[in-house]
Symmetry: C2
C-alpha cells in the first residue's frame, strides 16, 4: 500500500487510477490509502460543475479542460453520474465527446457510480478528489448530474461551485424551484446563442441583486437617517456570484468563466473567504466523520439489524422500538 | 401525544397536519408518535411519481387527484422538493395549480423540505406517509423532483413507481443516462401531443423488450434444441412496466395510467409480487434502522465529533484516523 501511496504522490497516472478503484470498490485497504494521502491534499483548486441534465455541463467541462491544458495545468475530472441501483455502473453517454482528452496524460478522467449508497456519490467523489489532489493535479472538476442531495453535498467540499443553466430546459421556473441557486459561486448561462438565454440571465441577475438588497437592509436600519442606496452599501464580506454567458460547444465564454472562477478563488483567500472556507470544511468533515462512524456501528451490529429489519418489514415491530433494542454500550 | 395519535387514526385532517409537522420538525415526541401509528399502516396504496423537472409531474399528480376523488377515494399528496440548504423551506412553485384540491377535505397536500439532511428527504416523506396511511387515506402520491439518490430511495418504500418522461427535455439520452429507468413500475410519456413523444415511447418500448430478451435468454440456453422465441418465453414472475401516454394538463391518459397502476398493485398481490414487496420493505426497514442507529450514536458523541471535525478541517488529522479515535464501547 505504501508503494501505491508513493506512486500517487509522484503523480503516476496508473497509480492514481488504481487508487480511485480501491476507493470505489471499498477495498479493505482504502482507509489506509486515504490516510496516507490526506496530509498532502488541499493544494488543488476543486471546482464543482452542476445543473440539470441537458444544460451542457459535459460540453462545458470539455471546453474548460481544453483551456486549462493550454495553460499547462494538470486537470482531473470526476464525473458523478447517478447510476443504476441494479448494475452499479455509470453510463458514459455523451462523455464520448471528451475522447480527445483521454489520450492526454495531463488529464485524468473518471466516472463515479453511486451503487445506491446513501450519500455515497458525494463521498466517493470527495475521496477520489483527495487522490487527484495528492497526485498534484492543479484543477479538479467535479461534474454532477441533476439537482438534489448529492449536489448540495458536493458544494460543501468543493472550493467553487459553477451552476450551469440553459434555455429550452422546460420552464425557467424549474431552475428556481430547484433550490440550488444558493450554492452557486458562479452562474453560467450556457447555449447563450439560443433564444431565451437573455431571460435566464436577467432572471439570475435579479435574484443576485435581490440578495444584495436583503444584505443591504441592516445598513439601512442602522443608518443615521440618511438614505443608504444599494450602491452605497458595499459588502466585501460577501461573495456575489457573477453570471457568465457561454456557448460551450464553440468554446465561447470559457475564458471569462475561468476568470470568474479565479476571482472566486482569490476571494477565498481573503479573511471572509477563509472563514467561509474553513466553516465549509468543518461541516464536510463532520458529515464524513458521522458517516464513517455510522458505517462502523452498522457493521458491528449487522446481524442484529437484519433480524430486526425483517420484523419491521412484517410490521411486527416499529422501527423506533427496533432501534432502541440495539445495544451499542 | 396519545390524543394526537387517536385523532390521526380517526382521520382528523388538522391532526394529520400537526403530526406531519411534528415529524418535519423532529420534535422530541416524533418517535412516540410514529410508534403509535406504525401498526396501523400498510393499508394505503403508496405511489411514487418521479422524473426530471419540467416533465409535468405536478400536472399529472393534479389530474390523478381529480380522478381518484371522482372515484370517492381519499388522497394524500407528499411533494418532495429539494429545498434550499439556507432557508430550509420548500418552494411551492407551480403547485399553485393544485389550489382547487386544497379546499377538498378528501385531499391532504404537503410539501416536504430536505433541510440538507443526508437522505432526509426520502426518510421524512416515508414517515409522513405513515401518518397519512394510518389516517386512512386510500392513495398516497409521493412526488419527487429530479433524478438522484432521493428518488432511488423513495422507490424502495413506495408500492409503485411512476416514471414521467416528456419530449423537449433536452436530449432524450438524458433520461436514459439517469439510470432511474429500472425503478419504474409504470412509464408515462407526458405531453404526448408534442412532437418527439413517439420517439420517447419507442425508446422506452425498446428498453422494456430488451429486458424481456435478457430474461428469455436462460430459457434459450436450457431449451432442448428447439427454437424458443421471445413470445414463447412468458415470464409471469416479472412485472413488465407498461408505457402510458398522457396529456396531463388536459387530463388525457390518466384513466389508463390509473389502470396500469392498479395492474401493478394486483401483481404485487401475486406470489412473486409479494416476495418482491417484502424484499423491498426489508431493505427500506434496514436502511431506516441504520439511519436511526447512526443518529443515536452521532448524538451520543456530538461534542467529540465536533472537536475532531475541526482538526480534520485544518488537515491536522485525517478523517479515518479521527473516526477510530471515537470509542463507542
Amino acid at each position: 500500500m505504501q508503494a501505491l501511496i508513493d506512486a500517487v504522490l509522484q503523480g503516476d497516472e496508473r497509480a492514481v487510477a488504481r487508487a480511485c478503484r480501491v476507493i470505489d470498490d471499498r477495498a479493505p485497504s482504502f482507509r489506509e490509502l486515504l490516510r496516507g494521502l490526506y496530509a498532502c491534499t488541499g493544494r488543488a483548486s476543486v471546482i464543482g460543475v452542476t445543473g440539470t441534465g441537458g444544460a451542457g455541463k459535459s460540453s462545458l467541462v470539455d471546453a474548460l479542460v481544453g483551456r486549462l491544458r493550454a495553460e499547462g495545468k494538470g486537470v482531473g475530472v470526476l464525473a458523478v453520474d447517478p447510476s443504476s441501483p441494479f448494475t452499479g455502473g455509470a453510463i458514459l453517454g455523451d462523455r464520448v465527446r471528451m475522447q480527445r482528452h483521454f489520450e492526454d496524460t495531463g488529464v485524468f478522467i473518471r466516472s463515479i457510480a453511486s451503487r445506491g449508497a446513501q450519500g455515497g456519490l458525494s463521498r466517493s467523489a470527495r475521496e477520489q478528489s483527495f487522490v487527484l489532489d495528492a497526485a498534484g493535479y492543479d484543477v479538479i472538476l467535479v461534474e454532477t448530474l441533476g439537482v438534489g442531495q448529492d449536489e448540495l453535498e458536493v458544494s460543501e467540499w468543493v472550493d467553487s461551485t459553477v451552476l450551469v443553466c440553459a434555455p429550452g430546459m422546460g420552464d425557467e421556473v424549474q431552475a428556481l424551484k430547484s433550490g440550488v441557486l444558493e450554492i452557486a459561486d458562479v452562474f453560467v448561462v450556457n447555449k447563450a446563442d439560443r433564444p431565451g438565454s437573455d431571460a435566464i440571465a436577467a432572471d439570475l441577475e435579479q435574484r443576485v441583486s435581490l440578495g444584495r438588497a436583503v444584505r443591504a437592509r441592516p445598513a439601512l436600519q442602522h443608518g443615521h437617517g440618511a438614505f443608504v442606496g444599494l450602491a452605497a452599501a458595499p459588502d466585501d464580506e460577501r461573495w456575489e456570484p457573477p453570471i457568465v454567458k457561454c456557448v460551450a460547444v464553440r468554446d465561447e465564454g470559457t475564458p471569462e468563466l475561468l476568470q470568474a472562477i479565479a476571482g472566486h478563488r482569490a476571494w477565498l483567500a481573503s479573511t471572509a473567504g477563509q472563514a467561509r472556507s474553513l466553516a465549509r470544511q468543518r461541516m464536510a468533515s463532520k458529515r464524513l466523520l458521522q458517516t464513517l462512524l455510522a458505517e462502523r456501528v452498522a457493521a458491528a451490529h449487522a446481524a442484529e439489524i437484519d433480524l430486526l429489519a425483517e420484523r419491521v418489514a412484517r410490521r411486527e415491530l416499529d422501527p423506533y422500538e427496533a432501534c432502541e433494542r440495539i445495544h451499542t454500550g
